[in-house]
Symmetry: C2
Subunit: 283 residues, 2 copies
């Protein structure tokens, strides 16, 4: 997916809120804004939005001198996710259709995204979890179950810290032992990296690899060779979150995108209103 004109004001908004989350120094906020203005003026709008998302967070890391300014925020959400784990596990186990419930909860976990929102509080997570169990799901779960039953080599592209706990529950429910879970290759906002996968026990459950880059999505051009090999060798890819959708919607693979629609641009692009829970198949 290319960058829409409506993404441009949003880049600046995201840059400002991310800079404020990383530091309270207004001189840094101004520096980040000016650099993002310059870089956006020069970028190709043929690139998907995570291309500029990546650049924004490189600028913030350079300006703050911190390699991972959202480290403590990620820990907080991982801990929140782990504190919810036992109850969510029970909810799935007791439900009429455990796989559907696990998918719904995995989409609910996608609310923990500091790229789209300035902050996510616990009450909001609870409310989204509750709502996700009954909200209409855009897409065909039957097609997903059918594809899963046939696939022998599944790549699961994760999105954010905290959310990764919900993905763990999803993967546990799938009961597939041939899944590889993918995290970002380096810190970018609150996206999950290897340390998050270790912290929440994903590494004990399945193979975990990183994609070799620090974009808040999957920019194949920049990904490592081992990742690209795994990506194209997979029978089936599960991709969580808007960033993975934005960057892989034109990729040559069989992908199920699983995400919450978080902005009017994606709403218009997908035809699903903002707030929708989506499972979108792409051949």
């Amino acid at each position: 997916m290319h960058t829409y004109h409506d993404c441009i004001p949003c880049f600046l908004k995201q840059a400002l809120s991310a800079a404020r989350l990383a530091t309270s120094d207004p001189a840094v906020h101004e520096h980040v804004l000016r650099q993002v203005l310059i870089d956006t003026a020069a970028m190709s709008f043929d690139q998907p939005p995570p291309f500029m998302g990546q650049r924004i967070h490189q600028i913030i890391r350079e300006a703050t001198g911190s390699a991972d300014p959202y480290n403590s925020v990620k820990k907080k959400y991982n801990q929140l996710g782990m504190s919810l784990y036992p109850d969510l596990k029970k909810t799935i186990g007791q439900s009429r259709n455990p796989l559907e419930t696990a998918i719904r909860l995995s989409i609910a976990g996608n609310i923990i995204d500091l790229g789209a929102a300035e902050s996510v509080d616990e009450a909001e997570v609870f409310s989204v979890i509750e709502q996700s169990l009954t909200q209409h799901l855009e897409g065909d779960i039957g097609a997903f179950q059918h594809a899963m039953a046939k696939a022998e080599n599944i790549l699961f592209l994760g999105d954010n810290a905290g959310e990764i706990v919900f993905d763990r529950l999803f993967i546990e429910t799938l009961q597939q032992d041939h899944i590889t879970y993918v995290v970002r290759g380096g810190p970018v906002i609150n996206d999950a990296t290897r340390s998050d996968a270790e912290f929440i026990g994903m590494t004990e459950l399945v193979d975990v690899m990183d994609n070799g880059t620090d974009a808040p999505g999957t920019l194949l051009d920049q990904c490592s060779e081992p990742f690209k090999e795994a990506f194209y060798d997979a029978d089936l890819v599960i991709a969580k979150g808007q960033g993975n959708f934005e960057s892989l919607s034109d990729a040559d693979q069989h992908i199920f995108f699983i995400f919450k629609v978080k902005c009017p641009v994606i709403a218009a692009h997908t035809g699903c209103p903002t707030g929708s829970m989506v499972i979108h198949e792409k051949h």
Copy 2:
């Protein structure tokens, strides 16, 4: 008032919606966005927001090759205002406090602002008029009436086309013959210029002058000498709209700013929530 960091994303949003209002050509939209990105990166944030507002509309006029891309929109709102005039005149005449009602309606007219909103439909204007008659008014009308009674030389800085009809009703209610009404020196979005003042009959009511510039506010540095003379010679200045507030909040004059709070930045700056009706005195 200086430009806040939160104004930066909004400049891009305004530029895009104004460009879309001026032309349906996406190549022009992209050109406008890129140029506004470049110019915003280089601007001094000590300037008030209308400084960039002015630049945005210069860029749009250059890119579209149209000296006044919103001409037809301004005509539409002037006609809407004139069609409402007889009923509004009656409402004021029959009210318990005609001056207060006229001020309230003049603030209601400030909703016709395409700088802050992408479009304003008739139903919205009707609803805002209705609401304005009873909504809480932030500020001291008594102080305004007191100052008006003493002033012998009043400068009234207008804001938008359409809204200028509401200002005419306000001025008629004031029954002062020493008022000069000021319009912008050149077209900028839907702000009122001399032709709007002529169309709605303001020129038959009071002296009308322009400020010599095409900013969506009053940037004194850029205004004509005759305007600056009139500005500093006035006993009292009435300034309509956010743009005039943003650009004159630090001016060395006795000003009553009369406006509707249209964005979170002004809400934080003034302490009045978005949507508030404000009459704010500055010495």
